[in-house]
Symmetry: C2
Subunit: 485 residues, 2 copies
Amino acid sequence: MSSLTMNSNNPVLTMDKINNNLVKMEYAVRGPIPTRAVELIEELKNGAEKPFDEVIRANIGDCHMMGETPITFIRQVLSASLFPKTALADPKLPNDVKERIQLLLSSCGGQSVGAYSDSAGVEIIRRHVAEYIEQRDGCPSDWRNIILTSGASEGVKLMFTLINSASTDNIQTGVMVPIPQYPLYSATCSELGMYLISYYLDEENEWALDIAELQRALDESKSKCKPKAIVVINPGNPTGAVLTKENIAQIIRFARDNNLLIIADEVYQHNIWKEGAQFYSFKKIMKEIDIRLELVSLMSASKGYMGECGLRGGYMEIDNFEPDVKAVLFKQISARLCSALIGQFAIDCVVRPPQQGEPSYELHQKEKETVLASLKGRAELTTRTLNSLPGVRSNPVAGAMYAFPRIQIPNKAVEEAEKLGQKPDFFYCKQLLEETGICLVPGSGFGQIPGTYHFRTTILPQPELFSRMMNKLQKFHLKFLEQYK
Amino acid sequence: MSSLTMNSNNPVLTMDKINNNLVKMEYAVRGPIPTRAVELIEELKNGAEKPFDEVIRANIGDCHMMGETPITFIRQVLSASLFPKTALADPKLPNDVKERIQLLLSSCGGQSVGAYSDSAGVEIIRRHVAEYIEQRDGCPSDWRNIILTSGASEGVKLMFTLINSASTDNIQTGVMVPIPQYPLYSATCSELGMYLISYYLDEENEWALDIAELQRALDESKSKCKPKAIVVINPGNPTGAVLTKENIAQIIRFARDNNLLIIADEVYQHNIWKEGAQFYSFKKIMKEIDIRLELVSLMSASKGYMGECGLRGGYMEIDNFEPDVKAVLFKQISARLCSALIGQFAIDCVVRPPQQGEPSYELHQKEKETVLASLKGRAELTTRTLNSLPGVRSNPVAGAMYAFPRIQIPNKAVEEAEKLGQKPDFFYCKQLLEETGICLVPGSGFGQIPGTYHFRTTILPQPELFSRMMNKLQKFHLKFLEQYK
């Protein structure tokens, strides 16, 4: 290890000497296809000849990147909170914006967004989150159970880290994760050396959770790990599914019967498109069926109608935790000091939008409804277009911001992919990108039943661009089928 | 594990079933004393009778909380970036602010701070960071080695996670950390199950690093862990020391001879107070003595003259990493998507302040110099006051924002503390808090040579309050000595 003759050509960090969990980790949403898309943008900018003149990035749930307009009230509050003196003197700034920043800043150290907050976040914002949940679900929420996070991703990592007991019992801690899944979950499992218990969502049944399948996955895992939690993403990423009340109740009973913590990723709770679909929180249904389990619910300012990904604001609510365990969680978050105050303020605006009678109310309602109506239109167009393609079948985009259609890939294309050492769905998406500039993520990045192929597309490109994309995708798909038939 | 008879009274998460690394972890900066201080503030607010009428929070490096005024240019840029249309039309907003937000936003997805950036941060900001380093050190910096982080804390955690190879080799990965240290390092070691190799700073020599002591610590650790890195905090937290060029060169040679990665926490690089002291980056000295090692340098928007803790902006530069290891690091950061854009923009303002001739230049210079001069005055006052107290000896506060004086605690007080199950320095700080409202952190939270006692105080309360605090501390200290003599 150490020797006086060692010199600077002897690196400390080599692939065999670093964290192998990270070496093995995969994260497809920012994998080789999106990376290639960024290169193509650069190449186009430098005048390269391509069969397309624009790259369409439908690979990531990034609303603003795809042209969504920020919500005025949110931006006014955030902008003003950074320069309150000028803002408060500005006659054009609505009074409810001024009142909001006064209220929030009075709860900050030195009345500044430049001060650290408590590790769990600014108290008044945590209180507002709890009020929002109470109103949404009609059951009590304790603000001391709210932790403001740097987006939902941080919440997931905090929680996975907390439940990972491998260092004590030398057995991998298992977490049940849906397949297909948002790859944050598998990436976090990899990083922390935890065991991913994959359960397949039921594609034939609009991606619902099938309890027999949950039981199969859990039973099979028991020789390999100590199962401790189940992750449910509702509305679904990448599936676009919205769970029914009955399905949620089944899952809760399953968790109770199998002694599992429920981690409910509910970041798309504002994004409901399908007629008749409705968002039910796990908290609400738990209350309704009178079962009391440990529950974590994750929320974010990055999705919904606000789409403020770059601000990194989110919250998690923990329910029914043992007090000493909760104390450990609070100690855990203290070492990262706090999440970004501007992200915290954004969450405040989300959970406490302007109310009827307040000066910002009408504009806020209009902006919110416009965004949501437009997304709804694109969700419907996506479902329609995808199902019109031969060899493609998509469940309705009932919620969230994605479709995850199943595609039949001709044998010749599968063989061609294998020759190149590529997965067939990767091959399809790579061809699509190189020929049309459309960037999607191959289904293999999210997981799928072996032998089936999918891709994930967002519904986020703005309407005109989105129609263009759907047309291009259609043409490509038909050409691809023809080429490899 | 699972049974149909289990019910909701059977918690999944109990102290013996969660991550024991977190159970064991300590984080003193937000430990019981600061927690008690917050309670006292509340009690005072509710009219409780106390021997003081204000709580003085000198426990945390939170400039804005302690009344420091934000820098206008930074706040103008950030505020405007959230509402660019209005800002660009505002005749009162300086042109260089407008140019800056146009430049930065043009590098953001959808020209919005609401879009995700690349995982490593907005490209133009990374380029600006590299330019800043080049100018500071007079040696090249590659923008592709810059990662924008959510404060320096995130950088530390990312790097510790990367080098932690225990899952492969079943031996704890060791990191050399100074004692006294900023507890983020020990907390991160605990959380990740890494081995903390404590090396004592040389209090008799203005907290310099003594190479023989480094060697002792390293040699003793080798039977227990695989040493892989050395952390150096310069300027020092909690010591307030500034390392000499010669000392830095010695440390670099030590790291080379012992095959260690250097993690240089250089977040206080703008905070130099002592006549003759100067900040030298490890990068610069490495270049000067012509040694090429793997190096990580951490920087933050939270300290310096800006003190923007709540925005969570920071960067790390990695030097001389193997390309495949660097690729793993970049994959690692991709799963957390990106750091907060507002924090990234803050870093841009720090590394690229207004230049001579630009409209914001003069005000910016004035504000910066005012803050730094005021801090310098408080640094000097701190050194003077502390050394005037019997039984207290403090090295000069040469840099950073802290003093870490050694205090003689009378035997009777030590015995009294032991009776209460408290460490003597904790006992001292607790008494101080309850009697005067001054909140400091006991030395045991940072580590100290056994049998010696210290506390850490920040120099951040504004001048008038600071003088008041020094007076109160003086009185308390004399009374304490009298009481336990």
